[in-house]
């Protein structure tokens, strides 16, 4: 009798669990369906497509080519020959200086490595200044945030004019003794810096707002204790403010790194990857192969390289989450 009632209870619990699970799935379904249709399926298709040759149109025209697309984007034959004949580093140098994928990878990583810390530093600096009761702080906050909501095309066109030969930026620099007077976007070194400059200028206002919110949450007592311990302003900043901002910095750096890997619009408008291939980024390379040259298979293979890159960064970031995100 006792056994029967226990079984019945178990059965009843099971029904409840099933009901709850069903409710949970019902709530999850709309989001999951959206995710599946617009993200999961395209990603899976893209993985499959990277092993095929497809010029678009009818799906039956898709041809399985195995690893050919990867061999082509990595130029394995040519890079292998260089490595065999001139050594490992010569092959590597060939890949990063002559091969489209290598150049795009190099450019994207350089852009990310410079843009992320620069944006973080500028955002913290702005937030620190505007966190105090500066006259017109609210207006300044709005001004610094404005580029983030302004049209990207308008921003890029305006900066292109500002960075032209004899333009305002070059004029100011020349007043300080600079000898450089060429359009930044027409110079293979400065073109990349032009894109970095615009990216940092555009997004620092957004991250400033996030840091401002985080600064409000730093307990006053910590500063008071630090003052009692004899810490000066710089020491307070490095030993109190920065550690307290760590979760925010962690979040901001994740967002920025992923955003930087996906950079496209600024490059497409300002330089279109030029001069030469000086600012050719991964997404621009994918776009050109897919929608200019109609090599969807090849473009998907390049997209896989980007996927692996983002995945690696994400894994590293997740492994550091406990240490940095939950201080």
């Amino acid at each position: 009798m006792t056994q029967v009632s226990a079984d019945r209870r178990k059965f009843r619990m099971g029904r409840l669990e099933r009901k709850n699970t069903l409710i949970a799935y019902t709530f999850l379904a709309p989001n999951f369906i959206g995710f599946a249709v617009f993200t999961l399926i395209p990603v899976v298709l893209s993985i499959v497509m990277s092993f095929t040759e497809w010029k678009g149109g009818d799906l039956t025209s898709m041809q399985w080519v195995g690893l050919n697309n990867y061999a082509e984007i990595f130029k394995t034959a040519k890079v292998g020959t260089e490595m065999a004949n001139k050594g490992f580093f010569a092959g590597l140098s060939y890949f990063f200086n002559k091969v489209d994928l290598g150049i795009s990878l190099k450019n994207t990583i350089f852009y990310t490595v410079v843009t992320v810390p620069l944006t973080l530093v500028c955002s913290i600096a702005l937030a620190m200044v505007l966190n105090h009761a500066v006259k017109g702080a609210v207006a300044f906050r709005a001004v610094f945030f404005f580029p983030y909501v302004a049209s990207m095309v308008a921003i890029c066109v305006c900066w292109n004019f500002m960075l032209m030969k004899n333009g305002p930026v070059n004029q100011i620099l020349m007043a300080f003794g600079s000898k450089f007077n060429k359009s930044w976007t027409a110079d293979s070194t400065m073109a990349m810096w032009a894109i970095i400059l615009v990216s940092v200028w555009r997004s620092m206002g957004y991250y400033m707002v996030i840091y401002l919110a985080a600064l409000q949450g730093v307990p006053r007592e910590l500063y008071e204790a630090a003052t009692v311990d004899g810490a000066n302003k710089w020491q307070q900043f490095t030993h109190v403010t920065l550690p307290q901002l760590r979760p925010t910095t962690f979040f901001a750096s994740i967002m920025l790194i992923i955003g930087c890997f996906k950079i496209y619009d600024t490059v497409a408008i300002m330089t279109n990857g030029g001069p030469g291939r000086a600012t050719k980024m991964l997404v621009l390379y994918i776009y050109n192969e897919a929608f200019v040259n109609f090599n969807y298979g090849l473009a998907s293979a390049i997209a896989m390289v980007l996927l692996v890159l983002v995945l690696l960064v994400t894994i590293v970031q997740f492994s550091m989450e406990d240490k940095y995100a939950n201080s």
């Binding site: 010029k55 678009g56 149109g57 292109n160 004019f161 030969k165 027409a186 929608f291 109609f294």
Partner: protein, 420 residues
Amino acid sequence: MKKLIALALTACMLLSMCAFAAAEEGTVITIVAWDANTTGYLTAQKEAYEASHPGVTIEYIDVSSQDYDTKVAAMLAGKDTSDIYMVKDIPALLNWYEAGYTEDLTPYMQAANYDVAGFVGMETNYAQDGQQIALPFRSDFEILFYNKDLFDAKGVEYPTNDMSWEQYKEKALAVMDDSDPSNPIYGTHYHTWLSTAVNYTVADGVNTLVDGEYSDLAYFYQMIQDLEDAGACMSYSEISAAGLHYSGAFGNGNIAMMPMGYWYVATLITNIANGTYNVKNWGLAAMPTKEGVAAGSTFGNLTGVCMNKLSDDKDAAWDYIAWLCGEEGAKVTAGAGNRPAWVSEGVAEVMSSIEGFPTDEGSKAALLPTFVAIEIPGTALSSRISSILGEEHSAIMTREISIEEGIENMNERVQELLAE
């Protein structure tokens, strides 16, 4: 009262539905084109066709000229059902064809017994694997525009139809004037495209942009750099950074010569007529040639139309294509200041008689080039070769690498691609 209002509203709804249905009765042909609102011949073609075909409406879908091929590719990949697509260049058309987006026009042509004699063979550039994937309605070639007032001011003779490139360079240097730095007069102008700068090498009918050997371009790159250094033309870096459009540049009135496609005639005439441009007296001359190449040789491109495989009304689309590319459409195109692909005595007469066209004999004679090479032959790799050449072109023109280095890169990269 409420019933009365409800009745009145229902009646209104029924009436509007009837009106909507009536409006839907006619045939609508949708055509994807670039600069549809500002291109004179598109308006003229629409008006002429609608007038001669009551009940048919032509609707243009405007796509920006700069990204036309890319955007059209995205539209076609998205199963767009527009009836007709304008074809800007052959490599892009081939990509559409390979992706299965284009309808084969051959059966329609055979059924209508369509005469192709007026195309003088140019329609073959749009034929692939035995299919006619498009038909041309315009045939533009590179020609030299010049501002007569600037030549007169300097007492320099106008460009002629048998000039050599050396003579052209001499004229550019002679007519330039940088005495007023705020308003310099430039001897010539090169737009940022590779074609307008150095593609003249193909005018000999031997060189092509897809052969993987580009040492022949060095001569033209050197000439441009010399002219830039002398201040006889604006620098590429500034033009590309400012996104300066060639039409406004020449229209501004401080550029003496500009190599450009024949399509610019229509823009020039329209903008001079409505007072937008400062330039007033202008003329046309044949492109200069290198030694050993016949005077009047140039390169050109076709502009055509293809039918979308997903068009809802293919018969209506074919009717329009047949009209547009044939004699009747050609006259309308010519009347708007453009050179139609269909050539006949009647069409030539229309071309030179339009208001605003230069009246001098030299300009009229420049309308008849002796040889027109195709700008870039359509091959499966044309698009990728164009991308490579474009990248190296920008590096050479911004002087980030030397001409020799750039050409070496072009040779190496394209040959690598061809070998694959």
